[in-house]
Amino acid sequence: MRLKRVQIFGFKTFADKTTLDLDGDFTAVIGPNGCGKSNIVDAIMWGLGEPNARALRAQTSQDVIFSGSATRKPVGFAEVTLIFDNEDGTLGLDLPEVSVTRRLSRNGNSEYFINKRPCRQRDFFELFADSGLGRAGYAIVGQKEIDAALAASAEDRRAWIDEAA
């Protein structure tokens, strides 16, 4: 399974619809401070169904909707679509390509789609459950995770191994 394409609109600083085609196995993301690189990471996590606002540096879930800038008005919803190459069938479905979409409106209304068909949040989670991309499965590693890995108690480390087992 491979992430082929990411489409972002209304999420954090993505007030303009943005499409990212991920071709290679090793893609570098570069740019000045504050321009949206870590926000792309947040978008992918959110697009995979991350329920915890704090994991995305936010306090409330609506914090991830573009709240305006000096020159732009806020927008009414955030939407992220992730498109996977599923040739190896890792994602439960019998399709060569699988897309998932998550949308959150400012009024709090949450929507989930698999291959453009509406579904429930738990269908979303189930889709990724065995893929290694569910919850702890995708590895997002920043400075905090590095420090946590080393400062972790012996018990925490044991828990990781349980997860990997």
């Binding site: 600083t13 570069i30 870590s38 890792t90 480390r157």
Partner: protein
């Protein structure tokens, strides 16, 4: 179950001992059970020896040594249980030139099986990546623009003025 934990643990032990040596060009690292008789409740301890130095608690290591050790541990976990997608956000920030090169070598090898997205300000890492996304923001707009992956030279220079 006990057997499954032990088998995973032993594979991780071997993997970590290897990834550590390759990240540091030597030295030793080990994982051990704090309570080998109680496998269902035991914790897991880490000890490392940086090449040329004595075995040391993790807290006394330098910033760069800690980052390298944590990356070695991550690469070991990925060998035991590959994640399809791994995103690294500026983990190379504390590394000196030589350590970045060793880190990149491990990364390229792991990238044969795993898809990596690597956010970085480091010129050595950027040089080594086959594909780049330039992410920028029009001054004062507050809105992200992502450039297609042939990044124009000007953006690179804005990010790394010394790479001229």
């Amino acid at each position: 179950t006990r057997d499954r934990f032990m088998s995973t643990f032993e594979r991780l032990q071997l993997a970590f001992a290897d990834t550590f040596q390759r990240m540091f060009g030597g030295g030793e690292a080990s994982l051990s059970l704090s309570d080998p008789d109680d496998v269902l409740a035991t914790g897991v301890q880490v000890e490392v020896t940086i090449p040329g130095k004595r075995r040391q608690r993790l807290e006394l290591l330098s910033g760069g040594e800690r980052a390298m050790s944590a990356c070695a541990f991550l690469f070991a976990i990925l060998r035991v249980k590959p994640s399809p997608l791994v995103v690294l956000d500026e983990v190379d920030a504390p590394l000196d030139g030589r350590n970045v090169e060793r880190f990149i070598e491990m990364l390229k090898e792991a990238a044969q099986e795993i898809q990596f997205i690597v956010i970085t300000h480091n010129p050595v890492t950027i040089e080594a990546a086959p594909t780049w996304f330039g992410v920028t923001m029009e001054s004062g707009s507050g809105v992200t623009t992502v450039l297609p992956y042939r990044v124009p030279a000007q953006l690179i220079q804005e990010v790394i003025p010394e790479a001229q």
